[in-house]
């Protein structure tokens, strides 16, 4: 354990650093116009999440958290990005995901959301005492940023990226509030997420097949 975690490195600082990387990668995804770059940002987001879970596992010494961290790493940082990339490549390569709002305006909105999340979470949960105190506001902020990505993009696959970022943020909330849920539950949640992303990818393919495009603003045949 000491090899993994040298004593001279303060643990709370490590967690803070990783939480910062988590939030920044989500913001980076929100700032991207290129789909593949956004998927890479999601991958970094997942890596940060897996590392936070690993730190928690080392600190608490609980084996089931270590296993959960490994699963998070395998599914969120490897499998899901691969699925998304394959779908993106099939849909004509590195397409530009034109946002409704320009990138600077979008960044300003995201910054506002982050400030809102930090102030409100502090008010509700207090300053917190555990080493994960910094994670909860980050998780709330990232949820909002993910939702912002979902509503501000036309491209179907970009909305999926927003959705998986929201899922990551909720996972971070679970880790930081409760040191993770029981292993069986986490495994089930990850399995559902994996199948869900595969299905979303399938339907992105179908949208393209029927519309010749994955611009979701053109999905308007059903009304009233």
């Amino acid at each position: 354990m000491n090899l993994l975690f040298p004593d001279w490195l303060p643990r709370s600082n490590t967690v803070n650093l990783l939480a910062g990387a988590f939030l920044l990668s989500a913001l980076y995804a929100a700032a991207q116009r290129r789909l593949l770059a956004a998927i890479t940002a999601y991958q970094w987001n997942s890596v940060a999440l897996g590392l936070i879970a690993a730190v928690v596992a080392v600190v608490t010494g609980a084996r089931h958290i270590a296993l959960a961290a490994l699963l998070v790493f395998a599914i969120k940082a490897v499998v899901i990005p691969a699925v998304l990339r394959r779908q993106a490549m099939r849909g004509g390569g590195d397409t530009v995901a034109e946002p409704f709002m320009g990138v600077p305006a979008g960044m300003l909105a995201c910054g506002g959301l982050v400030v809102l999340a930090f102030s409100q979470t502090r008010a509700l949960f207090g300053a917190g005492s555990s080493i994960l105190a910094s994670c909860l506001p980050v998780s709330v902020a990232t949820t909002l940023v993910g939702l912002f990505i979902m509503v501000s993009r036309r491209r179907a696959l970009m909305q999926v990226v927003g959705l998986v970022i929201v899922e990551n943020a909720i996972f971070l909330a679970a880790v930081s509030l409760t040191y993770g849920m029981p292993l069986v539950v986490e495994m089930g949640v990850l399995l559902d997420l994996l199948v869900g992303v595969a299905l979303l990818g399938l339907f992105v393919g179908r949208i393209e097949e029927t519309l010749g495009d994955t611009d979701t603003t053109r999905l308007t045949s059903l009304k009233g």
């Binding site: 509700l124 949820t143 939702l147 979902m150 179907a156 909305q159 959705l163 929201v166 899922e167 909720i170 909330a173 679970a174 509030l177 409760t178 849920m181 029981p182 069986v184 539950v185 089930g188 949640v189 399995l191 559902d192 199948v195 869900g196 299905l199 979303l200 339907f203 179908r206 949208i207 097949e209 029927t210 519309l211 979701t216 999905l219 045949s221 059903l222 009233g224």
Partner: protein, 488 residues
């Protein structure tokens, strides 16, 4: 315990068998046999619950009480007629419709049984994490079924359904995490803090701030799944584009399952903060759903979309009735959840026969149904009185009880709003139905399905009408037990 595990296992096992059998002529029979076995086991479970009371099983992962038994009955009693009708309808579609997906044989049956299995697990789960996993599983299975046809509308509907419900369900996961956190300090033991029975018993020691936050997220998440306004926008698209038996199952069984998940959070919150706070929110969102559905019901031209908005209205009424919080209203609301399932399943199955016969989804394209096809016309009339809540349909009794309980409660304003909405809906649906039933039929309408397809619909109609004039003692006891679970 004895009846529970077979009940939960029969659907997945049947689904696996269907996948293995493929094109065999046994595949539809396995589907029907699995649904029939599930119904029989659910009835046995009800008998066990009525005599023996609530119990937990499988090391605290599963439990059975009045609410579980009631929802299990709704799910299985609707699944059987839907599967029965589907066994006649889907081969017809595969033969005639060029947008039919031509799925690998056995896959439709397997997915339908997978959906049934997920709904039953979600109903009987005591562990809130397991409940979430099962409901997400049901969402995924039903999304594939919504996208069955290969036409732009179906793809659009399935996409909206999957994206909106995925966001909703991740909020529900956050709700689960928050509840787990609020109880984490009370239960040292691994996973016990996720068990609903533990949480309810210890509700008064939970931190009310987090319980309230969890309830809000659960209301948004599972409420989106149940189709409460304003999270309902996926619903008319999904119900109108899904194959008919699937739409019938989603608008009844999946609705009941999602509402029962929401009621689990409601029960904990009511025990923690006192009933007034969650009841107020239920009344607000229930009344909002009813009011919002009214204009869409009035101007609707498509039959299945009309049913979808009616579904929102009924879900709103059930939620509102529980929000009234008086024993009579809660009883009425849960009874309404039961009987409206039969009316709505019947109305949706008719959409298959009539819509395919008239080659149209629009109501003005099949006038004079009573003359064109007396059997279908009569069934359509029964479905109509069921949906508006006229005697002798059971929905009349349930709406009456819910509103009577509402006027006796402290939320008389909401009861008045609900009554007004029901009156307007009554007028609107009467107009639509009189156009469909009366008048001169169009040339060349013929019921495209074999006469055997009427049998499951007659069965649904019979239950709907019988429950309107006679409430058997076991049914009443079951609903009373379920009401005890929701608001003791």
């Amino acid at each position: 315990m004895a009846w529970l595990l077979p009940l939960l296992l029969v659907a997945p096992l049947g689904g696996a068998a269907c996948l293995a059998l493929g094109r065999s002529r046994w595949t539809p029979r396995v589907l029907l046999a699995s649904c029939a076995a599930a119904l029989a086991l659910a009835l046995a479970l009800v008998a066990r619950t009525l005599t023996g009371g609530a119990f937990t099983a499988a090391g605290g992962w599963l439990h059975v009480d009045g609410l579980v038994a009631m929802v299990a009955i709704i799910v299985t009693a609707i699944a059987l007629p839907c599967a029965w009708y589907g066994s006649l309808y889907m081969p017809f579609v595969a033969e005639r419709d060029h947008t039919d997906a031509r799925w690998a044989p056995g896959r439709y049956e397997a997915l339908l049984l997978g959906l049934l299995g997920c709904m039953l697990v979600a109903t009987a789960a005591n562990n809130l994490g397991l409940m979430w996993i099962a409901i997400e599983g049901a969402t995924l299975a039903s999304a594939l079924l919504v996208g069955y046809y290969r036409r732009p509308g179906a793809v659009e509907a399935a996409w909206k359904y999957l994206v909106l419900c995925s966001v909703g369900i991740s909020l529900a996961l956050l709700a689960t995490v928050l509840l787990y956190y609020s109880a984490g300090r009370l239960f040292g033991e691994e996973g016990a803090a996720l068990q609903w029975t533990h949480l309810r018993d210890a509700a008064q020691q939970l931190d009310p701030r987090f319980v309230k936050l969890a309830f809000l997220f659960a209301l948004a998440g599972y409420g989106a799944k149940a189709g409460l306004a304003p999270m309902h926008s996926w619903l008319p698209d999904a119900y109108s584009q899904a194959p008919t038996p699937v739409a019938a199952l989603m608008s009844t069984a999946l609705l009941a399952t999602s509402l029962s998940a929401l009621l689990r959070f409601f029960a904990i919150t009511a025990a923690c903060t006192g009933p007034a706070w969650p009841c107020g929110l239920f009344a607000l969102f229930g009344a909002l759903s009813m009011v919002m559905a009214v204009p869409f019901l009035l101007v609707q031209g498509e039959y299945k979309r009309l049913l979808a908005y009616s579904s929102i209205e009924h879900a709103g009424l059930v939620t509102l009735a529980i929000g009234f919080g008086t024993p009579l209203a809660v009883f009425g609301g849960l009874f309404h959840l039961l009987v409206q399932s039969f009316a709505k399943a019947l109305a949706f199955l008719l959409a298959g026969s009539i819509g395919r016969g008239a080659h149209s989804r629009r109501m003005d394209h099949f006038p004079g149904m009573l003359e064109a096809s007396p059997a279908l016309g009569t069934l359509l009339a029964v479905a109509g009185i069921g949906l508006v809540g006229l005697p002798p349909a059971g929905t009349f009794v349930s709406e009456w009880l819910a509103l009577a309980g509402g006027f006796a409660s402290s939320q008389g304003v909401a009861a008045r709003i609900a009554l007004a909405a029901l009156v307007v809906v009554f007028l609107g649906l009467t107009f639509h139905w009189s156009r469909m039933l009366l008048g001169r039929p169009r040339e060349g309408f013929a019921d495209p399905l074999p006469a055997g397809s009427h049998a499951p619909m007659w069965a649904l109609a019979a239950v709907l009408l019988v429950l309107g004039v006679y409430l058997p003692a076991p049914v009443r006891a079951l609903i009373e037990q379920a009401a005890q679970v929701v608001l003791p």
